[in-house]
């Protein structure tokens, strides 16, 4: 259940940012979560709700965009989507690949209201 720990980091970051915007409340937190992270969006939402209950963030919610795993082959230079965690280039069968997307655990933006 590392979603709880990740949710704590989110709450802390959002609280810090809000302190720079006095008089505003947060309505929504937009996240980008790569599919290679073992984060379950439902568990993260649940943890965030549990942590923000009865706090100024109680009326805010998470909007989670899942990012599929993309990799680039070092041999044929093609970018491809990694299916079923098979880290193999579908074009030339090379194992020499670099992950380009899928490891993200990012806060992208906040929606604030006065």
């Amino acid at each position: 259940m590392h979603e709880m720990s990740i949710a704590q980091h989110i709450v802390e970051l959002v609280e810090n940012i809000l302190s720079e915007h006095p008089g505003q409340t947060c309505r929504s937190v937009h996240l980008k979560i790569g599919e290679l992270t073992a984060v379950v969006p439902e568990s993260l939402t649940f943890a965030y709700q549990a942590l923000t209950e009865d706090t100024p963030l109680a009326s805010s919610s998470l909007t989670i965009e899942s990012l599929p795993i993309l990799a680039k082959c070092r041999d044929c230079n093609k970018v491809f989507s990694v299916q079923d965690f098979e880290f193999l280039c579908p074009h030339c069968s090379s194992h020499a690949i670099d992950i380009k997307q899928g490891e993200e655990l990012h806060i992208e933006k906040l929606e604030l209201v006065s």
């Binding site: 990740i6 940012i17 880290f87 990012h106």
Partner: protein
């Protein structure tokens, strides 16, 4: 309504601390391994056997992570190496701050190889950078040859994998060939060892590799 674009990493605080741990390890020339496994895969037993063999050859130390009890640290202390127990009190993984605190209790100038035994769990510890040099994932023959597919992140982040309890292979339905195929599908560069911490079978291939790494460091 206003929208603020921030684009920040959620775990940036942990990453900053991990970076500072990594700098300490680099400065002190300590090679650090973060050991991940499910509960009961035999991490502590493997560590005990490893310490026994490395004794007198390499200066080692251990950080033990557990949800409760210092049982594992007591087992390690019998091998006369510096050991620090971190009790997470419910926390399912170690993080970079816990490691930073633990480092204050270790004689860093006298350590060549530091083992961090993470909390028994194959999901959460994979997500948190501790500043380690490498992650090592351990699984046992009783757990099933499809484990890499079920916990892809741990097998993807690790550089080395140890299949433990190979003495039980005749009694369980574990196909080593399928396991290897599954593990290498997730991580084609994974370095795999097969051993039994109980019988000692295969352990020296792993410890020879460790000695070689330290000598070349």
């Amino acid at each position: 309504m206003s929208i603020i674009t921030i684009e920040r990493k959620i775990l940036e605080k942990n990453e900053d601390l991990a970076k500072s741990n990594r700098e300490i390890f680099h400065q002190k020339n300590i090679w650090t391994l973060d050991l991940l496994s499910s509960p009961g895969a035999g991490k502590t037993a493997l560590l005990e056997k490893t310490l026994e063999i490395l004794k007198g050859t390499i200066q080692t130390a251990v950080i033990e992570g557990d949800v409760q009890t210092d049982n594992d640290a007591q087992r390690i202390a019998k091998h006369h190496v510096p050991v620090v127990q971190i009790i997470t009190r419910g926390g399912c993984h170690l993080d970079a701050r816990l490691i930073q605190d633990a480092l204050n209790s270790l004689p860093l100038d006298e350590i060549e190889l530091l083992f961090i035994e993470n909390v028994g769990n194959l999901v959460c510890p994979a997500e948190f950078d501790l500043g380690e040099t490498e992650k090592v994932v351990i699984l046992s023959a009783t757990e099933g040859d499809d484990k890499p597919l079920k916990y892809p992140l741990a097998f993807h982040k690790a550089t080395t994998c140890i299949l433990n309890k190979i003495d039980l292979l005749p009694y369980v339905e574990f196909d080593v060939r399928i396991f290897r195929e599954n593990a290498l599908k997730i991580n084609p560069e994974l370095n795999i060892f097969e051993c039994s911490a109980k019988t000692g079978d295969g352990i020296e291939t792993w410890t020879d590799w460790l000695i070689q790494k330290i000598k070349n460091a």
